[in-house]
Protein backbone atom coordinates (compact mmCIF):
# COMPACT_ATOMS: atom_id res chain seq x y z
CA UNK A 1 0.00 0.00 0.00
CA UNK A 2 1.41 3.36 -1.00
CA UNK A 3 -0.17 6.66 -0.29
CA UNK A 4 1.13 9.80 -1.88
CA UNK A 5 0.99 12.29 0.94
CA UNK A 6 1.89 15.95 0.54
CA UNK A 7 4.80 17.18 2.59
CA UNK A 8 3.75 18.74 5.84
CA UNK A 9 6.05 21.73 6.08
CA UNK A 10 6.77 22.66 9.64
CA UNK A 11 5.60 26.21 10.15
CA UNK A 12 8.38 28.70 10.56
CA UNK A 13 7.01 30.57 13.51
CA UNK A 14 6.85 34.30 12.99
CA UNK A 15 8.58 35.22 16.22
CA UNK A 16 11.70 33.39 15.12
CA UNK A 17 13.07 35.18 12.15
CA UNK A 18 16.57 34.67 13.45
CA UNK A 19 18.34 31.68 14.98
CA UNK A 20 21.57 31.88 16.93
CA UNK A 21 24.15 29.29 16.00
CA UNK A 22 24.94 27.32 19.18
CA UNK A 23 28.43 26.68 17.93
CA UNK A 24 29.78 30.03 16.73
CA UNK A 25 27.12 32.37 18.15
CA UNK A 26 26.31 33.90 14.76
CA UNK A 27 22.76 35.19 14.32
CA UNK A 28 21.37 33.49 11.25
CA UNK A 29 18.38 34.62 9.22
CA UNK A 30 16.06 31.62 9.21
CA UNK A 31 15.28 31.67 5.52
CA UNK A 32 18.93 31.81 4.64
CA UNK A 33 19.61 29.01 7.11
CA UNK A 34 16.95 26.87 5.50
CA UNK A 35 18.30 27.63 2.05
CA UNK A 36 21.69 26.48 3.31
CA UNK A 37 20.14 23.11 4.32
CA UNK A 38 20.15 24.23 7.97
CA UNK A 39 23.89 24.48 8.08
CA UNK A 40 25.41 27.57 9.70
CA UNK A 41 26.72 29.80 6.93
CA UNK A 42 29.58 30.91 9.14
CA UNK A 43 30.93 27.83 10.94
CA UNK A 44 29.16 25.01 9.10
CA UNK A 45 27.49 23.76 12.27
CA UNK A 46 24.88 21.26 11.17
CA UNK A 47 21.51 21.98 12.77
CA UNK A 48 19.17 19.07 13.22
CA UNK A 49 16.62 18.67 10.49
CA UNK A 50 13.28 16.87 10.67
CA UNK A 51 12.31 13.78 8.71
CA UNK A 52 10.35 15.56 5.98
CA UNK A 53 12.99 18.19 5.43
CA UNK A 54 15.63 15.48 5.27
CA UNK A 55 13.66 13.61 2.65
CA UNK A 56 13.28 16.77 0.60
CA UNK A 57 17.02 17.29 0.78
CA UNK A 58 17.87 13.77 -0.34
CA UNK A 59 15.14 12.49 -2.66
CA UNK A 60 15.00 13.55 -6.28
CA UNK A 61 12.35 16.22 -6.74
CA UNK A 62 8.81 14.86 -6.41
CA UNK A 63 10.08 11.31 -6.36
CA UNK A 64 9.05 10.48 -2.80
CA UNK A 65 5.99 8.33 -2.24
CA UNK A 66 5.36 7.57 1.39
CA UNK A 67 4.59 4.05 2.56
CA UNK A 68 2.92 2.97 5.80
CA UNK A 69 2.12 6.53 6.87
CA UNK A 70 -0.66 5.65 9.27
CA UNK A 71 0.87 3.19 11.69
CA UNK A 72 0.41 4.24 15.30
CA UNK A 73 1.65 2.93 18.61
CA UNK A 74 -0.34 0.92 21.08
CA UNK A 75 0.55 0.87 24.75
CA UNK A 76 1.54 -2.74 25.38
CA UNK A 77 2.78 -2.21 28.94
CA UNK A 78 0.17 0.30 30.11
CA UNK A 79 3.18 2.47 30.82
CA UNK A 80 2.73 5.46 33.10
CA UNK A 81 5.55 7.58 34.42
CA UNK A 82 4.71 11.20 35.08
CA UNK A 83 2.30 10.92 32.17
CA UNK A 84 0.72 7.93 30.48
CA UNK A 85 2.53 6.80 27.33
CA UNK A 86 -0.49 7.50 25.07
CA UNK A 87 -0.48 11.08 26.26
CA UNK A 88 3.19 11.44 25.37
CA UNK A 89 2.49 10.06 21.92
CA UNK A 90 -0.38 12.45 21.42
CA UNK A 91 1.83 15.37 22.43
CA UNK A 92 4.54 14.37 20.00
CA UNK A 93 2.00 13.88 17.25
CA UNK A 94 0.64 17.35 17.82
CA UNK A 95 4.12 18.86 17.94
CA UNK A 96 5.52 17.14 14.84
CA UNK A 97 2.48 16.36 12.72
CA UNK A 98 3.94 12.86 12.43
CA UNK A 99 2.30 9.71 13.77
CA UNK A 100 5.58 8.31 15.06
CA UNK A 101 9.34 8.85 14.85
CA UNK A 102 10.11 7.66 11.33
CA UNK A 103 8.92 8.50 7.82
CA UNK A 104 9.43 5.90 5.08
CA UNK A 105 8.79 5.83 1.38
CA UNK A 106 10.00 5.03 -2.09
CA UNK A 107 12.06 7.59 -3.91
CA UNK A 108 14.90 7.97 -6.31
CA UNK A 109 18.24 9.48 -5.33
CA UNK A 110 20.27 10.63 -8.29
CA UNK A 111 18.01 8.41 -10.34
CA UNK A 112 18.62 5.29 -8.28
CA UNK A 113 15.49 3.65 -6.93
CA UNK A 114 15.57 3.38 -3.15
CA UNK A 115 13.38 2.96 -0.18
CA UNK A 116 14.23 5.91 2.02
CA UNK A 117 13.55 6.28 5.73
CA UNK A 118 14.28 9.31 7.87
CA UNK A 119 13.81 9.57 11.59
CA UNK A 120 12.12 12.46 13.32
CA UNK A 121 14.11 13.28 16.43
CA UNK A 122 11.46 15.71 17.67
CA UNK A 123 9.10 12.79 18.11
CA UNK A 124 9.99 11.40 21.56
CA UNK A 125 13.69 11.77 20.85
CA UNK A 126 13.46 9.64 17.74
CA UNK A 127 13.07 6.64 20.01
CA UNK A 128 12.48 3.23 18.47
CA UNK A 129 9.37 1.46 19.66
CA UNK A 130 7.16 -0.96 17.79
CA UNK A 131 6.06 1.51 15.13
CA UNK A 132 9.59 2.56 14.23
CA UNK A 133 10.69 -1.08 14.27
CA UNK A 134 7.74 -2.17 12.17
CA UNK A 135 8.08 0.62 9.64
CA UNK A 136 11.82 0.10 9.20
CA UNK A 137 11.36 -3.65 8.87
CA UNK A 138 8.62 -3.11 6.29
CA UNK A 139 10.81 -0.61 4.47
CA UNK A 140 13.63 -3.13 4.25
CA UNK A 141 11.29 -5.92 3.18
CA UNK A 142 9.63 -3.67 0.64
CA UNK A 143 13.02 -2.62 -0.75
CA UNK A 144 14.01 -6.25 -1.00
CA UNK A 145 10.84 -7.20 -2.82
CA UNK A 146 11.31 -4.34 -5.27
CA UNK A 147 15.08 -4.81 -5.55
CA UNK A 148 15.69 -1.29 -4.37
CA UNK A 149 18.53 0.14 -2.36
CA UNK A 150 17.82 1.10 1.22
CA UNK A 151 18.78 4.43 2.74
CA UNK A 152 18.02 5.09 6.40
CA UNK A 153 18.81 8.44 7.98
CA UNK A 154 18.94 7.88 11.72
CA UNK A 155 18.42 10.43 14.49
CA UNK A 156 17.51 8.74 17.71
CA UNK A 157 18.16 8.54 21.40
CA UNK A 158 17.70 4.77 21.30
CA UNK A 159 14.98 2.32 22.20
CA UNK A 160 11.68 3.66 23.54
CA UNK A 161 11.60 3.00 27.28
CA UNK A 162 7.81 3.19 27.39
CA UNK A 163 7.58 -0.04 25.43
CA UNK A 164 10.06 -1.82 27.69
CA UNK A 165 11.54 -5.08 26.49
CA UNK A 166 9.25 -4.99 23.46
CA UNK A 167 11.14 -1.91 22.29
CA UNK A 168 14.39 -3.79 22.83
CA UNK A 169 13.16 -6.54 20.52
CA UNK A 170 12.84 -3.99 17.71
CA UNK A 171 16.62 -4.07 17.49
CA UNK A 172 16.42 -7.69 16.38
CA UNK A 173 13.56 -7.00 14.01
CA UNK A 174 15.31 -4.17 12.20
CA UNK A 175 18.64 -5.98 12.09
CA UNK A 176 17.04 -9.11 10.66
CA UNK A 177 15.16 -7.12 8.03
CA UNK A 178 18.17 -5.15 6.76
CA UNK A 179 20.19 -8.38 6.81
CA UNK A 180 17.68 -10.13 4.56
CA UNK A 181 17.72 -7.12 2.27
CA UNK A 182 21.50 -7.30 2.15
CA UNK A 183 21.51 -11.01 1.46
CA UNK A 184 19.59 -10.27 -1.70
CA UNK A 185 22.66 -8.36 -2.91
CA UNK A 186 21.08 -4.95 -2.41
CA UNK A 187 22.89 -1.94 -0.93
CA UNK A 188 22.08 -0.30 2.39
CA UNK A 189 23.47 3.15 3.07
CA UNK A 190 23.18 4.11 6.73
CA UNK A 191 23.34 7.82 7.47
CA UNK A 192 24.04 8.80 11.07
CA UNK A 193 22.93 12.26 12.06
CA UNK A 194 22.87 14.16 15.32
CA UNK A 195 22.22 12.27 17.54
CA UNK A 196 22.36 8.54 16.82
CA UNK A 197 22.78 6.66 20.06
CA UNK A 198 21.83 3.63 22.12
CA UNK A 199 19.75 0.86 20.64
CA UNK A 200 19.48 2.40 17.19
CA UNK A 201 23.25 2.60 16.83
CA UNK A 202 23.48 -0.90 18.33
CA UNK A 203 21.24 -2.32 15.64
CA UNK A 204 20.58 -1.68 11.95
CA UNK A 205 22.31 1.73 11.91
CA UNK A 206 25.74 0.12 12.39
CA UNK A 207 25.18 -2.40 9.62
CA UNK A 208 25.21 -0.29 6.49
CA UNK A 209 27.34 -1.40 3.56
CA UNK A 210 28.43 2.19 3.72
CA UNK A 211 28.02 4.30 6.84
CA UNK A 212 28.02 8.05 6.41
CA UNK A 213 27.81 10.59 9.20
CA UNK A 214 27.12 14.29 9.33
CA UNK A 215 29.87 16.53 10.69
CA UNK A 216 29.81 16.90 14.46
CA UNK A 217 26.94 14.46 14.96
CA UNK A 218 26.81 12.79 18.37
CA UNK A 219 27.10 9.06 17.76
CA UNK A 220 27.58 6.55 20.55
CA UNK A 221 26.23 3.63 22.46
CA UNK A 222 26.23 4.82 26.06
CA UNK A 223 25.21 8.28 27.11
CA UNK A 224 28.26 10.46 27.67
CA UNK A 225 27.05 11.07 31.24
CA UNK A 226 27.07 7.36 31.99
CA UNK A 227 30.46 6.92 30.38
CA UNK A 228 31.88 9.90 32.19
CA UNK A 229 30.65 8.71 35.58
CA UNK A 230 32.06 5.26 34.83
CA UNK A 231 35.58 6.56 34.51
CA UNK A 232 35.07 9.43 36.94
CA UNK A 233 36.88 11.78 34.62
CA UNK A 234 36.36 14.16 31.78
CA UNK A 235 35.93 12.55 28.39
CA UNK A 236 38.30 13.41 25.57
CA UNK A 237 37.43 16.32 23.30
CA UNK A 238 35.29 15.16 20.43
CA UNK A 239 34.26 11.94 22.17
CA UNK A 240 31.40 10.20 20.37
CA UNK A 241 31.33 12.76 17.58
CA UNK A 242 31.21 11.71 13.92
CA UNK A 243 34.91 12.48 13.44
CA UNK A 244 35.78 10.34 16.49
CA UNK A 245 33.94 7.39 14.97
CA UNK A 246 35.67 7.94 11.64
CA UNK A 247 39.05 7.84 13.38
CA UNK A 248 38.11 4.67 15.21
CA UNK A 249 36.97 2.89 12.09
CA UNK A 250 33.18 2.85 12.42
CA UNK A 251 32.18 5.41 9.83
CA UNK A 252 33.19 5.44 6.18
CA UNK A 253 32.96 9.14 5.60
CA UNK A 254 31.89 12.30 7.39
CA UNK A 255 29.90 14.10 4.71
CA UNK A 256 28.82 17.73 4.80
CA UNK A 257 25.08 17.99 4.26
CA UNK A 258 25.45 19.80 0.95
CA UNK A 259 27.26 16.78 -0.50
CA UNK A 260 25.17 14.06 1.09
CA UNK A 261 22.74 13.45 -1.73
CA UNK A 262 25.44 13.15 -4.39
CA UNK A 263 27.54 10.95 -2.18
CA UNK A 264 24.68 8.56 -1.49
CA UNK A 265 23.91 8.49 -5.20
CA UNK A 266 27.53 7.62 -5.97
CA UNK A 267 27.48 4.63 -3.64
CA UNK A 268 24.10 3.41 -4.83
CA UNK A 269 25.45 3.63 -8.36
CA UNK A 270 28.68 1.84 -7.53
CA UNK A 271 26.84 -1.04 -5.92
CA UNK A 272 24.36 -1.43 -8.74
CA UNK A 273 26.86 -1.85 -11.55
CA UNK A 274 28.22 -5.32 -10.88
CA UNK A 275 30.18 -7.23 -13.44
CA UNK A 276 26.92 -8.83 -14.48
CA UNK A 277 28.34 -11.78 -16.29
CA UNK A 278 30.03 -12.72 -13.02
CA UNK A 279 26.88 -12.73 -11.02
CA UNK A 280 25.02 -15.07 -13.29
CA UNK A 281 28.06 -17.09 -14.21
CA UNK A 282 28.06 -19.32 -11.15
Amino acid sequence: MRLRVPFVKRSESAQHLWTQCPHCGEMLFNKQLARNLNVCTKCEHHFRVGARERIEQLADRASFAEIDPTLVSMDPLGFVDQKPYPARIAESQAKTAERDAVVCGDATIGGHPVTLAAMEFSFMGGSMGTVVGEKLARAAEHARDGRRGLVIVSASGGARMQEGTIALMQLVKTVAAVTRHGKAGLPFVSVLTDPTTGGVLASYASLGDVILAEPGALIGFSGARVTSSTIGAELPEGFQRAEFLLRHGFVDQVVPRAQLRDRIAFFLGAFSRPAREMRWGV
Binding site: P76, A159, M169, L171, S203, G223, I231, G249
Partner: protein, 320 residues
Protein backbone atom coordinates in the same frame (compact mmCIF):
# COMPACT_ATOMS: atom_id res chain seq x y z
CA UNK B 1 5.64 -18.48 19.55
CA UNK B 2 7.15 -21.90 19.20
CA UNK B 3 4.19 -23.05 17.16
CA UNK B 4 5.82 -22.20 13.85
CA UNK B 5 8.64 -24.57 14.56
CA UNK B 6 6.28 -27.28 15.63
CA UNK B 7 4.22 -26.76 12.54
CA UNK B 8 7.37 -27.22 10.52
CA UNK B 9 7.73 -30.52 12.29
CA UNK B 10 4.36 -31.56 10.95
CA UNK B 11 1.57 -30.32 13.11
CA UNK B 12 1.47 -29.24 16.69
CA UNK B 13 0.86 -32.04 19.13
CA UNK B 14 -0.14 -31.35 22.69
CA UNK B 15 2.96 -29.83 24.29
CA UNK B 16 4.69 -30.05 20.93
CA UNK B 17 7.04 -27.34 22.06
CA UNK B 18 8.44 -29.55 24.78
CA UNK B 19 8.14 -26.90 27.45
CA UNK B 20 5.64 -28.23 29.96
CA UNK B 21 6.86 -31.79 29.70
CA UNK B 22 10.39 -30.64 30.51
CA UNK B 23 9.21 -28.74 33.57
CA UNK B 24 9.30 -25.28 32.03
CA UNK B 25 6.56 -22.82 32.96
CA UNK B 26 4.86 -21.92 29.70
CA UNK B 27 1.82 -20.26 31.22
CA UNK B 28 1.88 -17.67 33.97
CA UNK B 29 -1.18 -19.30 35.50
CA UNK B 30 1.21 -22.01 36.61
CA UNK B 31 3.14 -19.67 38.93
CA UNK B 32 2.09 -20.09 42.56
CA UNK B 33 3.41 -16.86 44.07
CA UNK B 34 4.34 -14.27 41.55
CA UNK B 35 7.13 -11.99 42.73
CA UNK B 36 6.87 -8.27 42.32
CA UNK B 37 9.16 -6.91 39.59
CA UNK B 38 11.30 -5.22 42.20
CA UNK B 39 11.69 -8.44 44.18
CA UNK B 40 12.71 -10.14 40.95
CA UNK B 41 15.32 -7.45 40.31
CA UNK B 42 16.79 -8.07 43.76
CA UNK B 43 16.82 -11.84 43.29
CA UNK B 44 18.28 -11.57 39.82
CA UNK B 45 21.12 -9.41 41.13
CA UNK B 46 21.82 -11.42 44.27
CA UNK B 47 25.57 -12.04 44.34
CA UNK B 48 24.95 -15.53 45.72
CA UNK B 49 22.86 -16.43 42.71
CA UNK B 50 24.47 -19.16 40.61
CA UNK B 51 26.28 -17.44 37.78
CA UNK B 52 27.19 -18.77 34.35
CA UNK B 53 30.44 -20.48 35.24
CA UNK B 54 28.82 -22.45 38.04
CA UNK B 55 25.79 -23.31 35.95
CA UNK B 56 27.95 -24.44 33.05
CA UNK B 57 29.71 -26.81 35.42
CA UNK B 58 26.43 -28.19 36.71
CA UNK B 59 24.46 -28.31 33.47
CA UNK B 60 26.99 -29.67 30.98
CA UNK B 61 28.94 -32.90 31.03
CA UNK B 62 32.26 -31.47 29.88
CA UNK B 63 33.28 -27.96 29.02
CA UNK B 64 36.37 -26.53 27.39
CA UNK B 65 36.64 -22.79 27.22
CA UNK B 66 37.84 -21.07 24.05
CA UNK B 67 39.43 -17.69 24.40
CA UNK B 68 39.74 -14.54 22.39
CA UNK B 69 38.13 -12.60 19.59
CA UNK B 70 41.08 -12.98 17.16
CA UNK B 71 41.37 -9.23 16.88
CA UNK B 72 41.96 -7.45 20.12
CA UNK B 73 41.63 -9.42 23.33
CA UNK B 74 39.94 -11.95 25.52
CA UNK B 75 37.05 -10.54 27.54
CA UNK B 76 36.66 -12.20 30.94
CA UNK B 77 33.04 -11.00 31.12
CA UNK B 78 32.15 -13.51 28.42
CA UNK B 79 32.82 -17.23 28.83
CA UNK B 80 32.61 -19.23 25.62
CA UNK B 81 33.46 -22.76 24.70
CA UNK B 82 32.45 -26.23 23.69
CA UNK B 83 30.57 -28.63 25.88
CA UNK B 84 28.68 -31.90 25.91
CA UNK B 85 25.02 -32.06 26.76
CA UNK B 86 23.54 -35.51 26.84
CA UNK B 87 25.84 -36.83 24.14
CA UNK B 88 25.45 -33.78 21.96
CA UNK B 89 28.20 -31.23 21.32
CA UNK B 90 27.11 -27.67 21.89
CA UNK B 91 28.65 -24.22 21.76
CA UNK B 92 28.09 -22.29 24.98
CA UNK B 93 28.42 -18.53 25.25
CA UNK B 94 27.68 -16.84 28.55
CA UNK B 95 28.09 -13.59 30.41
CA UNK B 96 29.84 -14.03 33.71
CA UNK B 97 29.28 -11.80 36.70
CA UNK B 98 31.49 -12.21 39.69
CA UNK B 99 30.48 -14.19 42.74
CA UNK B 100 32.77 -12.02 44.86
CA UNK B 101 34.00 -8.46 44.70
CA UNK B 102 37.37 -9.60 43.36
CA UNK B 103 35.78 -11.67 40.65
CA UNK B 104 33.41 -8.85 39.82
CA UNK B 105 36.33 -6.52 39.27
CA UNK B 106 38.12 -9.11 37.16
CA UNK B 107 34.96 -9.71 35.13
CA UNK B 108 33.86 -6.07 34.82
CA UNK B 109 30.72 -6.96 36.79
CA UNK B 110 29.60 -9.03 33.85
CA UNK B 111 29.60 -6.05 31.49
CA UNK B 112 31.22 -7.17 28.23
CA UNK B 113 33.51 -5.03 26.13
CA UNK B 114 33.25 -5.21 22.33
CA UNK B 115 35.83 -7.99 22.23
CA UNK B 116 33.49 -10.07 24.40
CA UNK B 117 30.76 -9.86 21.78
CA UNK B 118 33.29 -10.48 19.02
CA UNK B 119 34.45 -13.61 20.82
CA UNK B 120 30.80 -14.65 20.96
CA UNK B 121 30.42 -14.04 17.22
CA UNK B 122 33.47 -16.15 16.53
CA UNK B 123 32.01 -19.02 18.53
CA UNK B 124 28.63 -18.65 16.81
CA UNK B 125 30.33 -19.04 13.43
CA UNK B 126 32.20 -22.05 14.72
CA UNK B 127 28.88 -23.61 15.74
CA UNK B 128 27.52 -22.92 12.28
CA UNK B 129 30.50 -24.47 10.57
CA UNK B 130 30.18 -27.71 12.49
CA UNK B 131 26.41 -27.82 12.75
CA UNK B 132 26.40 -27.51 16.53
CA UNK B 133 23.57 -25.93 18.50
CA UNK B 134 24.28 -22.74 20.44
CA UNK B 135 23.25 -22.16 24.04
CA UNK B 136 23.68 -18.73 25.59
CA UNK B 137 23.36 -17.65 29.20
CA UNK B 138 22.57 -13.99 29.72
CA UNK B 139 23.54 -12.26 32.94
CA UNK B 140 24.68 -8.67 32.63
CA UNK B 141 23.75 -5.22 33.89
CA UNK B 142 24.48 -4.17 30.32
CA UNK B 143 27.35 -3.73 27.90
CA UNK B 144 30.29 -1.88 29.41
CA UNK B 145 29.69 1.86 29.08
CA UNK B 146 33.32 3.00 29.37
CA UNK B 147 35.09 5.20 26.84
CA UNK B 148 37.34 2.38 25.66
CA UNK B 149 34.31 0.27 24.87
CA UNK B 150 32.97 3.18 22.86
CA UNK B 151 36.28 3.58 21.05
CA UNK B 152 36.32 -0.07 20.07
CA UNK B 153 32.73 0.03 18.84
CA UNK B 154 30.41 -1.31 21.50
CA UNK B 155 27.40 -0.52 19.33
CA UNK B 156 28.89 -2.18 16.26
CA UNK B 157 29.78 -5.29 18.22
CA UNK B 158 26.26 -5.61 19.63
CA UNK B 159 24.62 -4.97 16.27
CA UNK B 160 26.84 -7.54 14.61
CA UNK B 161 26.17 -10.15 17.26
CA UNK B 162 22.42 -9.64 16.90
CA UNK B 163 22.85 -9.98 13.15
CA UNK B 164 24.91 -13.14 13.32
CA UNK B 165 22.59 -14.83 15.81
CA UNK B 166 19.60 -13.92 13.69
CA UNK B 167 20.98 -15.50 10.53
CA UNK B 168 22.97 -18.32 12.15
CA UNK B 169 22.49 -21.66 10.44
CA UNK B 170 22.32 -23.58 13.70
CA UNK B 171 19.69 -23.90 16.44
CA UNK B 172 20.01 -21.30 19.18
CA UNK B 173 18.56 -21.42 22.69
CA UNK B 174 19.07 -18.34 24.86
CA UNK B 175 18.44 -18.26 28.59
CA UNK B 176 18.35 -15.16 30.75
CA UNK B 177 19.71 -16.63 33.96
CA UNK B 178 19.89 -13.44 36.03
CA UNK B 179 20.00 -9.85 34.87
CA UNK B 180 19.21 -9.13 31.24
CA UNK B 181 20.33 -5.54 30.80
CA UNK B 182 19.36 -3.90 27.51
CA UNK B 183 21.29 -4.23 24.26
CA UNK B 184 24.23 -5.76 26.07
CA UNK B 185 22.00 -8.68 27.03
CA UNK B 186 20.17 -8.87 23.72
CA UNK B 187 23.48 -9.28 21.91
CA UNK B 188 23.50 -12.87 23.21
CA UNK B 189 19.73 -13.17 23.27
CA UNK B 190 18.56 -13.84 19.72
CA UNK B 191 17.41 -17.42 19.41
CA UNK B 192 14.87 -19.94 18.27
CA UNK B 193 13.82 -20.39 21.88
CA UNK B 194 14.31 -17.78 24.58
CA UNK B 195 13.86 -18.81 28.18
CA UNK B 196 14.29 -17.03 31.47
CA UNK B 197 14.92 -18.31 34.93
CA UNK B 198 11.81 -17.68 36.94
CA UNK B 199 13.29 -14.75 38.86
CA UNK B 200 15.44 -13.32 36.11
CA UNK B 201 14.72 -9.89 34.67
CA UNK B 202 15.15 -8.58 31.13
CA UNK B 203 14.66 -4.95 30.34
CA UNK B 204 15.39 -2.20 27.86
CA UNK B 205 16.93 -0.12 30.64
CA UNK B 206 17.71 -0.65 34.31
CA UNK B 207 14.98 0.49 36.70
CA UNK B 208 17.46 2.99 38.15
CA UNK B 209 18.32 4.38 34.72
CA UNK B 210 14.69 4.60 33.74
CA UNK B 211 13.75 6.34 37.00
CA UNK B 212 16.58 8.81 36.59
CA UNK B 213 15.32 9.78 33.15
CA UNK B 214 11.55 9.63 33.50
CA UNK B 215 11.09 10.48 37.18
CA UNK B 216 14.35 12.41 37.43
CA UNK B 217 15.13 10.41 40.58
CA UNK B 218 16.88 7.08 40.89
CA UNK B 219 14.92 6.43 44.09
CA UNK B 220 11.85 5.80 41.97
CA UNK B 221 13.52 2.62 40.72
CA UNK B 222 10.89 0.39 42.23
CA UNK B 223 8.13 2.21 40.37
CA UNK B 224 10.18 2.10 37.20
CA UNK B 225 10.73 -1.64 37.61
CA UNK B 226 7.01 -2.14 37.84
CA UNK B 227 6.31 0.07 34.82
CA UNK B 228 8.96 -1.65 32.67
CA UNK B 229 7.43 -5.10 33.20
CA UNK B 230 10.78 -6.80 32.85
CA UNK B 231 10.15 -9.74 35.18
CA UNK B 232 9.90 -13.20 33.66
CA UNK B 233 6.16 -13.69 34.05
CA UNK B 234 5.49 -10.28 32.50
CA UNK B 235 7.60 -11.08 29.49
CA UNK B 236 5.95 -14.46 29.12
CA UNK B 237 2.58 -12.70 29.05
CA UNK B 238 3.88 -10.15 26.57
CA UNK B 239 5.11 -12.87 24.25
CA UNK B 240 8.75 -11.79 24.41
CA UNK B 241 9.97 -15.08 25.86
CA UNK B 242 8.86 -18.66 25.53
CA UNK B 243 9.04 -20.06 29.04
CA UNK B 244 10.36 -19.84 32.57
CA UNK B 245 12.73 -22.31 34.19
CA UNK B 246 11.41 -22.79 37.72
CA UNK B 247 13.33 -21.65 40.77
CA UNK B 248 12.79 -22.74 44.34
CA UNK B 249 10.74 -20.55 46.65
CA UNK B 250 13.74 -18.62 48.02
CA UNK B 251 15.40 -18.05 44.65
CA UNK B 252 17.94 -19.91 42.54
CA UNK B 253 20.71 -19.63 45.13
CA UNK B 254 18.77 -21.67 47.70
CA UNK B 255 19.00 -24.89 45.67
CA UNK B 256 21.61 -24.60 42.98
CA UNK B 257 21.56 -28.29 42.08
CA UNK B 258 17.81 -28.32 41.52
CA UNK B 259 17.94 -25.18 39.43
CA UNK B 260 20.73 -26.55 37.28
CA UNK B 261 18.91 -29.84 36.85
CA UNK B 262 15.78 -27.99 35.73
CA UNK B 263 17.79 -25.90 33.31
CA UNK B 264 19.49 -28.96 31.88
CA UNK B 265 16.17 -30.70 31.39
CA UNK B 266 14.77 -27.67 29.59
CA UNK B 267 17.80 -27.34 27.33
CA UNK B 268 17.88 -31.01 26.40
CA UNK B 269 14.19 -30.94 25.55
CA UNK B 270 14.59 -27.89 23.32
CA UNK B 271 17.68 -29.20 21.55
CA UNK B 272 15.91 -32.50 20.91
CA UNK B 273 13.07 -30.61 19.37
CA UNK B 274 15.13 -28.18 17.31
CA UNK B 275 17.48 -30.86 15.99
CA UNK B 276 14.88 -32.19 13.60
CA UNK B 277 13.73 -28.86 12.16
CA UNK B 278 15.07 -28.22 8.66
CA UNK B 279 17.38 -25.21 8.72
CA UNK B 280 15.35 -23.18 6.28
CA UNK B 281 12.26 -23.57 8.46
CA UNK B 282 14.25 -22.77 11.54
CA UNK B 283 15.59 -19.55 10.06
CA UNK B 284 12.19 -18.52 8.77
CA UNK B 285 10.63 -19.15 12.16
CA UNK B 286 13.38 -17.23 13.91
CA UNK B 287 12.80 -14.26 11.64
CA UNK B 288 9.08 -14.36 12.22
CA UNK B 289 9.53 -14.80 15.96
CA UNK B 290 11.02 -11.32 16.27
CA UNK B 291 9.07 -9.86 13.37
CA UNK B 292 5.88 -10.44 15.30
CA UNK B 293 6.87 -8.94 18.63
CA UNK B 294 5.23 -5.58 19.16
CA UNK B 295 1.86 -3.94 19.05
CA UNK B 296 0.69 -1.26 16.69
CA UNK B 297 -2.43 -0.24 14.86
CA UNK B 298 -2.94 0.79 11.27
CA UNK B 299 -6.38 2.42 11.13
CA UNK B 300 -6.10 3.56 7.54
CA UNK B 301 -5.00 0.18 6.33
CA UNK B 302 -8.08 -1.34 7.93
CA UNK B 303 -10.20 1.39 6.37
CA UNK B 304 -8.51 1.01 3.01
CA UNK B 305 -9.09 -2.70 3.14
CA UNK B 306 -12.80 -2.18 3.72
CA UNK B 307 -13.04 0.41 0.97
CA UNK B 308 -11.67 -1.98 -1.63
CA UNK B 309 -14.07 -3.73 -3.99
CA UNK B 310 -14.84 -7.29 -2.97
CA UNK B 311 -12.71 -8.84 -5.70
CA UNK B 312 -9.65 -6.93 -4.57
CA UNK B 313 -10.17 -8.06 -1.01
CA UNK B 314 -10.50 -11.58 -2.31
CA UNK B 315 -7.20 -11.29 -4.11
CA UNK B 316 -5.63 -10.25 -0.85
CA UNK B 317 -2.84 -7.88 0.03
CA UNK B 318 -0.40 -9.41 -2.37
CA UNK B 319 -2.39 -8.07 -5.29
CA UNK B 320 -1.80 -4.42 -4.49
Amino acid sequence: MLEKIDRALGGREPDGDGLASSGVIADVAGIANRRSPWEAVQLARNIQRPHSQELIGLVFDRFQELHGDRGFGDDPAVIAGLADLGGRSVVVVAQQKGSSTEENIARSFGMPHPEGYRKAIRLFRLAEKFGLPVITFIDTPGAHPGPEAEERGQAEAIARSIQVMGELEAPVVAVVIGEGGSGGALALGVGDVVLMMQNAVYSVISPEGCAAILWRSASEAERAAKALRGAGPDLLELGVIDGLVPEPEGGAHTDRQAVAAGLRRALVAQLDRLASVPLSDLLAARYDRYREIGSFADPSAAAAEKAKPWWRRALGKAGL
